[in-house]
């Protein structure tokens, strides 16, 4: 039986203190919930335990002995396996191969597919009998892939099992099967860390709970038996640190700037309808895999429209790409992955903002002067209070919040009238988060219409004027936001649960 102890572990990334002196103790035969809002540091902690990140400070102890794993391989060898939040399957490999990936059975030197299928079947059957072990993973639905990930973690028969939001994209039926299984493992003495956003799940299954808030412990291993729902929520959100609701709002509901009518796409959206009004912040909420970010990409020409239509300023349009979206329809887009898609990290603040207006800045013979760029960019840097030593500073050196401001600035510079903003405050500290929210409020008051995509419930409740709920690539409801966390979040989740109950295999 193995005991895992985390002692005041810290971890910083450029611009963000992800973990700040976090502790946790995990005993054999318990299910330990790890809770916190997005960006609270849960996933970072999981990645430190599994050897993916090295902590800057603090210790990880296994049975009282220091155990800092240099790699996931080392953690696996010590009996720690994990289901990570990111998808970690090889699309072209079969289900069975993915489950047994790092220890493929062989017979006289050759991979033995009969054994693979038999072994994988054993673990898969614990959760779902409907998945064929021989098909390629890329042909599965999102929910099925998640099941495969879980089966893979189970197959390692680890002493310590870490599950980062394992239920985010699976159906209630599968969740029930998973819970029954986790209880069996608990009885066998396995120590389980269970990360979930869903309070119901945590109350249903966890023995103790550790809560993280902004990278610090808000609670360490408190027994669930003595925990109330309200107290858990306030531990997670922090009563005094609730996200401020935006001030005065002034959307012009008579003017529709962007509208989808029964829009269906080649990547799976079905009959999506919504109307974004001038100066409005329209929220689009959904769990992982609901199709939110994909909808943004589809609107911007990333997918083929197979039914219905998209209208900008009342006229039906077909947007081919981002270039056309900006130049013809004045739509800007801020990606959820600002490091990979949003910004050119190795380029300067000046170049990153001016990138959208280079064409305009070029002189008669097609040259862009530093002076012209600076003059165009400076007002936005001042207005958005982007903290950078000089305009020539490389964007990668700025904090996450300032990077995000740069990506907003580039669309303002380009005079975008519609802004699609995907997860604008992921990995940004609470103070800067509020700044970004106020900034979005301010530009929407100036007449910019914003489609705000977010899986951060408190953010959604605080910032959006109306909230669309997306699930399984459909809009399943609209919530008139009263800016009160308890009622609005309940209203949103009830829309999602209503669909899940109706069609338990929605994702297939």
């Amino acid at each position: 039986m193995t005991t895992l102890t985390i002692e005041s572990v810290s971890k910083a990334f450029p611009g963000v203190q992800a973990l700040d002196g976090v502790s946790l103790d995990l005993r054999p035969g318990e299910i330990h919930a790890l809770m916190g809002e997005n960006g609270a540091g849960k996933s970072t902690l999981i990645k430190i335990i599994t050897g993916l990140y090295r902590p800057d400070g603090g210790r990880v102890l296994l049975d009282g002995k220091p155990a800092e794993f240099a790699s996931p391989r080392a953690a696996l060898a010590a009996g720690i396996s994990a289901v990570h939040q990111e998808r970690n399957l090889i699309p072209r490999f079969s289900v069975g191969e993915n489950i047994l990936l790092e220890r493929l059975p062989t017979q006289s030197g050759l991979v033995d597919y009969d054994t693979i299928n038999r072994e994988a079947r054993r673990y898969l059957d614990l959760l779902d009998r409907g998945i064929d072990t021989r098909v390629e993973v890329r042909t599965l639905s999102v929910a099925q892939m998640q099941i495969v990930e879980i089966a893979k973690a189970l197959s390692l028969e680890a002493k310590i099992l870490l599950m980062d939001e394992p239920t985010a994209s699976i159906t209630e039926h599968e969740t029930a099967a998973l819970f029954a299984l986790l209880k069996r493992l608990r009885a066998d003495g396995v120590a389980i860390v269970f990360v979930s956003h869903k309070l119901e799940e945590v109350f249903a299954i966890a023995d103790r709970v550790t809560v993280l808030r902004d990278g610090k412990n808000a609670a360490i291993g408190e027994p669930m038996a003595a925990m109330t729902r309200d107290r858990l929520v306030s531990l997670m959100i922090g009563r005094e640190e609730r996200i401020a609701v935006l001030g005065e709002r002034s959307a012009d509901l008579a003017t529709t700037v962007l509208e989808a009518r029964d829009l269906s796409t080649s990547i799976g959206h079905r009959e999506v309808s919504f109307a974004l009004h001038r100066g409005e912040i329209l929220g689009l909420y959904g769990l992982v895999g609901a199709g939110r970010s994909e909808l943004a990409k589809a609107i911007l020409g990333g997918a083929v429209v197979t039914g219905g239509e998209l209208r900008v300023a009342g006229r039906p349009v077909r947007i081919r790409d981002m270039h056309e979206a900006l130049t013809k329809y004045r739509i800007g887009y801020i990606s959820e992955d600002r490091k990979a898609e949003g910004l050119i990290l190795m380029h300067s603040v000046r170049k990153n903002i001016a990138i959208t207006i280079w064409q305009k800045l070029a002189d008669a013979i097609g040259l862009i002067g530093n002076g012209a760029e600076t003059r165009a960019v400076e007002p936005f840097v001042r207005r958005l209070e982007i903290r950078t030593p000089t305009l020539g500073q490389v964007v990668g050196n700025l904090s996450g919040g300032n990077q995000q401001k740069v990506s907003i600035a580039k669309w303002l510079a380009a005079n975008a009238e519609i802004l699609i903003v995907d997860e604008p405050t992921v990995g940004i500290d609470i103070k800067t988060k509020t700044d970004i929210h106020e900034l979005l409020g301010e530009i929407s008051r100036a007449g910019v219409s914003i489609l705000l995509i977010s899986s951060d419930m408190p953010e959604m409740v605080a910032v959006a004027d109306r909230i669309l709920v997306m699930h399984g690539f459909r809009i399943v409801g609209e919530v008139a936001n009263d800016h009160t966390y308890e009622t609005a979040s309940k209203a949103i989740m009830s829309r999602i649960h209503a669909v899940e109950d109706k069609e338990p295999a929605a994702a297939e």
Binding site: L52, P72, R73, A82, N88, I90, R92, L101, L110, V111
Partner: protein, 317 residues
């Protein structure tokens, strides 16, 4: 799944069709095409080309590139020739040593890539220049002409239309097919290419696998070089100089994913057959052979476009 869609998913389906159509058209256009000697000539040029394609295919599989295939091939070729002419080594010793030199070159590529974390493209671009430098430094551009008669005979002789040379690529293709389909290192290699992070999280040692791919690539380039020496009957320092484009063309036309994680031994083989067919067709039609280069470029573009189209159509892109 409807039949047509399933067929579309098979990467080499278009290639097989192109080969059949091409052969039929050539047979009609030229009476010389179906002669035993012409087929022998075609198959002979096919042998080295296929191994060159395989050498690049394994690095593409792991998500890397090996720009030094040709340079390493050249170095191996003159080492092989030098060992036999200058040092008097017997063929039976010179062949494994030549392959070992190729593997060593690959090991250097792999270790440099893995240890420094620098992109393999740049590393192998640099080592390519270094390998060529050693090659020219040793030979001063003068070939080794005095090859053992047995080797020259092996490079020239044939059974009906089949050159003896063909034995090597057939064996290598079978072994590679088995390696990727059925061995753990083979599967690990494709896993790392398919999703490096996932492979890492599964406890596969990414670094070791990348090194392995480069070693394999070097060894395959070496086999290609040995065959080229046998085929030419002399160890030319210029062997390998024109391999680079071909090395990418064959696996890519054969359906390999440029991002890594997917390769096809059969597809690559068909691609090389198609290229040999085109070259042969142009010779028979008395077209300037320099235009082959142009066609190869056009073919790569078409193949990449076809793969993309297929991915979109079948919803796997």
């Amino acid at each position: 799944m409807p039949f047509l869609k399933r067929l579309l998913l098979v990467e080499w389906s278009g290639l097989a069709a192109a080969i059949v159509i091409g052969a039929v058209v050539l047979a009609f256009l030229s009476p010389n095409f179906l002669t035993e000697f012409n087929i022998y000539v075609m198959l002979r040029s096919f042998c080295v080309a296929l191994l060159v394609g395989f050498a690049q295919m394994v690095t593409l599989g792991v998500g890397q590139m090996n720009i030094s295939v040709g340079a390493l091939g050249g170095l191996v070729a003159i080492s092989f020739g030098g060992m036999m002419e200058v040092l008097g080594f017997p063929i039976i010793l010179a062949v494994p040593l030549a392959i070992a030199i190729g593997a060593l070159g690959g090991l250097i590529n792999g270790l440099l890539t893995e240890r420094t974390g620098i992109n393999g493209f740049i590393i192998t671009l640099a080592t390519a220049s270094a390998f060529t430098g050693i090659n020219l430094g040793i030979t001063e551009s003068i070939p080794f002409y005095d090859m053992p008669p047995a080797l020259v005979a092996f490079g020239e002789n044939r059974f009906l239309a089949f050159p003896y040379l063909l034995i090597a690529p057939v064996i290598v293709a079978a072994l590679l097919g088995l390696f990727f389909a059925r061995t753990v290192p083979g599967r690990q290699l494709l896993a790392v290419g398919g999703n490096p992070q996932a492979a890492d999280l599964s406890g596969i040692s990414r670094g070791r696998v990348i090194v392995l791919a480069h070693v394999l690539s070097g060894a395959l380039a070496a086999v290609a070089a040995v065959l080229a020496v046998a085929q030419l009957g002399s160890a030319q320092p210029t062997i390998g100089a024109d391999w680079l484009l071909l090395s990418f063309a064959a696996p890519i036309i054969g359906g390999a994913a440029l991002t890594g994680g997917y390769i096809s031994v059969l597809g690559t083989t068909f691609a090389v057959i198609l290229i040999a067919l085109i070259e042969n067709g142009m010779v028979l039609a008395k077209v300037d052979p320099y235009w082959v280069q142009f066609l190869l470029g056009a073919l790569i573009l078409a193949a990449v476009w076809l793969n993309r189209w297929r991915a979109v159509r079948t919803g796997t892109g």
